[in-house]
């Protein structure tokens, strides 16, 4: 095997492994309590023009939210990305079962990739943090929040 074919073959092997890793982590992210991808897609299409499949679950995004929230009207959410500040363009946050799945969008310009706020969650559903990078990648972190009293009416 000459060098060229070896390089090609190894590149293919690496790409395959990466893809497999993404697939397993995507599966690991699935099956969250109260998942409603159809409703979530509605918000994703409206805001990003993308579908759920375009989001990459990533360890680089950290989402801190309570697993059980007493009141859905006031759920503290903290999002942090372990990426250089100049690579992060915006942070979006979605909730699967809200009537309007988009919770907020933050466009960052010169601040660190961190954002904390308090959101409303209608009923038990995953909250998803989507970090949009300058090169167009969409990195996601999800966490299911169990709500005893809904926050949207």
């Amino acid at each position: 095997m000459d060098r060229r074919t070896f390089l090609k073959a190894s590149a293919g092997a690496v790409a395959g492994t990466v893809l497999a890793n993404q697939l397993t982590s995507a599966l690991a992210q699935g099956g969250l309590e109260g998942e409603d991808i159809a409703n979530l897609e509605k918000g994703l299409r409206q805001v990003l023009g993308k579908s759920f499949k375009d989001l990459t679950p990533s360890q680089q995004v950290k989402l801190v939210a309570p697993t059980i929230a007493e009141s859905g009207a006031n759920v503290p959410v903290e999002i942090e990305a372990s990426l250089p500040a100049d690579q992060v363009k915006a942070i979006h946050c979605f909730c699967d079962k809200n009537a309007n799945p988009l919770l907020f969008t933050v466009v960052l310009n010169g601040v660190l990739p961190y954002y904390a706020t308090r959101v409303r969650v209608a009923e038990t559903a995953p909250v998803r943090a989507v970090v949009e990078t300058k090169d167009g990648r969409l990195l996601m972190a999800s966490q299911s929040v169990r709500v005893t009293v809904g926050g949207c009416g």
């Binding site: 009537a99 919770l103 907020f104 010169g110 601040v111 660190l112």
Partner: protein, 108 residues
């Protein structure tokens, strides 16, 4: 009536180069437009839909909260305190009301 905004730096006087957390609290009911009053009528949506944060005139962050943001919302950022400056927060709600607050960041 103007919207009241509170701004706090944590730590209040950071050292140059340190991380500082900027906490912004806006006093606003944030009606999502899905709630009903006692007689069963929908309460019209009235929430903040734009918050702009500038540092010395340069836009550093823009938040677009949807109806899914809590009443009296908190918006918190982290930034590097490289130099002292003036932070200005402006916000706007669906009824066209605006609020504005400036805060000076001083270094220790």
């Amino acid at each position: 009536m103007a919207i009241n905004i509170l701004v706090r730096f944590n730590p209040a006087r950071p050292k140059a180069g340190d991380e500082v957390r900027v906490q912004i609290v806006v006093q606003h009911p944030m009606e999502p437009g899905t709630r009903r009053d006692a007689s069963g009528k929908l309460i019209p949506a009235d929430h903040i839909n734009e918050v702009n944060v500038t540092m010395d005139g340069q836009l550093i962050a823009q938040v677009k909260p949807g109806p899914g943001t809590s009443a009296n919302p908190l918006f918190a950022f982290k930034m590097k305190a490289n130099k002292a400056g003036q932070l200005k927060v402006t916000c706007k709600d669906l009824n066209g009301q605006t609020g504005e607050r400036t805060a000076d960041l001083t270094l220790a």
